[in-house]
């Protein structure tokens, strides 16, 4: 059936942009030393917010679970080192809104003392895969490519969706970012070990590792590690360098020729896609029983003195990380979390590194200039040519601008992956992606409102019905009482109503008689 080799398919659109990776590629600047306090947001992933299981003032140890999740989609948080819980409160978090969110503040004691850890599972292939999923869930592993979707949910595809291909994403297509590159170059074995576990857990037939061809060292290291592991059906595929090659849907298309359905997920077509760093985290969880406590972060851009990659425990302030990369240079203008295409600017650097923080880009004015004033759209269609989701960005823009959200959905707004290609090529410099984000949030808000209105209506109807029912029941009870009473008097052989009427009539007659008598006597006296 398959007529093409893996990696030889293509996706529509995309852009070529200078990758600017050489500044940090292959450079490891070591592990960031622990600061005095760590700030651990309870929401570092997609899904439900974690709930703290520790109290303020409690002593915790490295690797100890300090927040757990009860919802299916979510991930627990662990203490990245030992110390005391200083506070559980709102604190600014890295989010485009710049708002605060609940965080656990950990006072570091400097001992870095490990707590009790679960057993390593080196013979995992004798075990029930569900136990391994449980371990991945316990370890708090989320997609480390930036999206931070809980991995345990991803690998729990269900028995009705057999997985054919495990796609390992080493494309790292965003310019500037090199943390996955470094990981593959230096810890390819750890990645391959994780692949072994994942292959077993999802029971896939094959594994395709996609790496962009601007990372030859990583490709060579991964090929070597795969060969040494003795794994069959695992291939390292060199894919062309074109943004957004690392987009899940795009990479799957290029490697397998299959398209993830619109509004669907990869497991529907028998594919699961996992980032290389996530695979490495799985190795730690299964082989060493260690939860996810730190990650590799690229610190780069003309705004820092020495670009490179650092291992950063979660909760460390970005300012601390940048200080460890030689501090800001004179050219520093903006701080971007993530890459220049999909990252977002941070208004402040006193924010913690979280599980999804893959890159801190301190950009100069030349690298990330202030946005130009937008000109009118001339409908040139460059955006359409660049769109990897094959949308009509221009039409979406018109309708988003006109707040016609039904129409934006008709033009498949929710298939937009917000990759930024359309904005990048637009000669009128219209911030197109911003319009789509706006349209999406508005649509969600409208739907929520609709749902709430629907709920309120249902509640109201239920209340009216309940009141009617109570009234009906009350009346029924009354009738029952009356009936019972009537039955009783009937049984006594007298009609109570008749008796009452007769008594009343008697009383009236007596009263009349008394009155006429009184009148008579008064007439006599006058």
């Amino acid at each position: 059936m398959i007529t093409q080799n893996p990696g030889s398919w293509d996706f529509h659109g995309g852009i070529h942009r200078p990758d600017c990776k050489s500044m940090s590629a292959g450079k490891f600047l070591g592990k960031v030393p622990l600061p005095e306090t760590l700030v651990l947001p309870l929401q570092q992933h997609i899904g439900a917010m974690a709930e703290p299981v520790v109290k303020v003032g409690e002593q915790v140890f490295k690797g100890q679970t300090i927040a757990r999740v009860s919802e299916y989609i979510g991930a627990p948080i662990h203490a990245p080192t030992s110390g005391t819980i200083a506070a559980i409160e709102e604190h600014p978090v890295p989010h485009p809104s710049g708002l605060s969110a609940p965080c656990i503040l950990l006072q570091v004691d400097g001992k870095d003392e490990w707590g009790e850890l679960p057993e390593p599972l080196p013979y995992f292939d004798d075990m029930d895969p569900s136990l391994l999923r449980e371990r991945i869930r316990w370890a708090g592993i989320v997609g480390l490519g930036g999206a931070a979707f809980p991995t345990s949910v991803k690998v729990n595809h269900g028995p009705d969706r057999p997985i054919q291909t495990l796609v390992i994403n080493g494309a790292e297509c965003e310019p500037y970012i090199t943390c996955d590159d470094l990981l593959m170059r230096e810890q390819a074995d750890r990645v391959v070990e994780g692949i072994k576990v994942l292959l077993y857990v999802v029971d896939a037939e094959e594994c395709l590792i996609g790496i962009e061809d601007n990372k030859p060292e990583a490709i060579a290291a991964m090929r070597k590690a795969v060969a040494e592991s003795g794994l069959k059906d695992v291939q390292v595929i060199q894919v062309p360098t074109r943004y957004p090659m690392g987009g899940e849907k795009q990479l799957i298309k290029v490697l397998t020729g299959k398209e993830v359905p619109s509004n669907g997920i990869p497991s529907e077509i028998g594919v699961i896609c996992i980032n290389v760093a996530t695979a490495a985290a799985v190795t730690d969880a299964v082989m060493a029983g260690r939860p996810l406590l730190s990650r590799l972060v690229t610190v780069t851009g003309e705004g820092v003195n020495s670009s490179g990659n650092l291992e950063v425990p979660f909760g460390v302030y970005m300012s601390h990380v940048i200080a460890h990369a030689g501090g800001y240079s004179d050219k520093a203008y903006k701080l971007i979390l993530g890459g220049p295409m999909m990252g977002f600017t941070l208004g402040d650097d006193q924010l913690p590194v979280t599980k999804g923080s893959n890159c801190l880009l301190a950009a100069s004015r030349e690298e990330a200039p202030a946005p130009d004033k937008a000109h009118p759209c001339i409908r040139c269609g460059k955006c359409m040519d660049a769109c990897p989701a094959q949308l009509l960005p221009q039409q979406l823009y018109w309708y988003a601008r006109a707040r016609d959200f039904d129409k934006t959905q008709e033009y498949h707004l929710f298939d937009c992956i917000e990759c930024g290609c359309c904005s990048w090529v637009c000669p009128s410099h219209i911030p197109l992606v911003q319009y789509y984000r706006f349209a999406k949030t508005e649509t969600w808000a409208l739907e929520k409102e609709k749902r709430q209105a629907e709920d309120a209506r249902r509640r109201h109807e239920a209340r009216v019905e309940r009141l009617e029912r109570l009234e009906r029941e009350r009346k029924a009870r009354l009738r029952q009482k009356k009936d019972a009473l009537e039955k009783k008097t009937a049984a006594n052989g007298a009609n109570p109503r008749k008796a009452a009427v007769e008594a009343a009539m008697k009383r009236v007659a007596e009263k009349k008689a008394r009155q006429s008598e009184a009148e008579k006597s008064s007439g006599e006296s006058s």
Partner: protein, 347 residues
């Protein structure tokens, strides 16, 4: 430390509207040089009048609309409209007629519909049609090309003719102007002459009329430049030319003595200019890939229909305006398949 907050992506491709329009103007240069060579100074004078009027009109309307004037003027879109209209006009068009056309294009067709990007009709072509239906005589008074022109006018004489309407004493309008090749072909066919008889006339060259055919070629060079620079895509020009060649070729095969050879259609009138510079105006054209092909093809066919059976000899302007009206509908029905679209989504 407080840092500026902007939305992603950061940085843009070094491209902007001014550059796009500038490349269109640059691509027009070879054709304009050819026009000047064959038809004299009038072409340049027309362009100067048109551009000046367009910039003044644009500035005036923007001022009235309380919009920033400078960015709109520097985007060169008004200049492109003015130049396209000017080179479509006969070389000795009176100055006020050019001005009227440009004013109509900028004020009515462009800004009354909302300005750049909002106008449903191609401003240059709408203005051309306005002038054609209002002043049919003046609009068909072309000069013969240089090699057939017995009385070439000097720069000063041209200036006088355009601004004062006067000609040197020994000349009359009838002696210096001639019909366009399309008009000539039409008139001769009406007189029941066969194509081979008509072709005897010295005005005919290799594939079209002498002089005219070469102007077409120079515009073609500019068009190819736009393709190379990716300012336009191949869809519209090729589909439009294909539509014209197919329609005219079909009829020519059946009746070569009363239907002109397809090459004649291609290299006469505004076909090449229209295919590469006018129908490709992104604001008023179809934007989906399939839509662009349909849009271009229909323009090509319409051009042939109007030229053959319509009331006006040249038809590019009419055909473009007609298809401008159809473009939104064409776009709606030719939406590309979305990535991962399920079959039911596409139905």
């Amino acid at each position: 430390m407080k840092l500026p907050v902007h939305t992603s992506p950061y940085g843009v491709l070094p491209n902007n509207v001014t550059r796009v329009m500038g490349e269109v103007l640059l691509a027009l240069v070879p054709g304009i040089i050819a026009l000047v060579y064959y038809f004299g100074w009038g072409v340049l004078i027309n362009i100067s009048i048109a551009v000046t009027t367009a910039l003044a009109a644009e500035a005036g309307v923007l001022h009235l609309r309380h919009r920033p004037v400078r960015p709109a003027l520097s985007d060169l879109s008004a200049t492109v409209t003015a130049v396209l209209l000017a080179i479509a006009l006969p070389p000795l068009t009176p100055w006020w007629m050019t001005m009227l056309g440009v004013l109509f294009a900028i004020v009515m067709v462009k800004h009354l519909y909302g300005g750049l990007g909002y106008n449903p009709f191609n401003p240059a072509m709408a203005a051309y049609v306005l002038l054609l239906v209002s002043f049919p005589v003046a609009m068909t008074q072309w000069l013969p090309p240089e090699m057939l022109n017995a009385h070439p006018l000097s720069f000063a004489q041209t200036l006088t003719a355009i601004f004062g309407g006067g000609l040197p004493d020994h000349l009359t309008w009838d002696t210096i102007t001639s019909a366009t090749p399309l008009d000539a072909m039409r008139e001769q066919l009406k007189m029941n002459k066969t194509i081979s008889e008509i072709a005897q006339n010295p005005m005919w060259g290799n594939f079209g009329a002498r002089g005219w055919e070469w102007v077409g070629n120079w515009f073609l060079i500019g068009g190819l430049f736009l393709l190379w620079r990716k300012v336009i895509t191949w869809h519209i020009p090729f589909a439009m030319i294909a539509g014209l060649l197919l329609a005219s070729g079909l009829f020519w095969l059946f009746d070569p003595e009363s239907m002109p050879f397809p090459g004649f259609h291609l290299f006469s009138g505004g076909m090449i200019l229209g295919a590469f510079f006018i129908a490709t105006d992104p604001v008023t054209a179809s934007t989906t890939p399939k839509g662009r092909i349909i849009y271009g093809f229909l323009i090509g066919v319409t051009v042939f229909i109007i030229r053959t059976w319509g009331g006006y000899p040249d038809a590019v302007a009419f055909a473009v305006l007609l298809m401008n009206m159809a473009a939104p509908t064409i776009d709606y029905y030719t939406q590309p398949r979305v990535f991962g679209a399920r079959d039911k989504d596409n139905a």
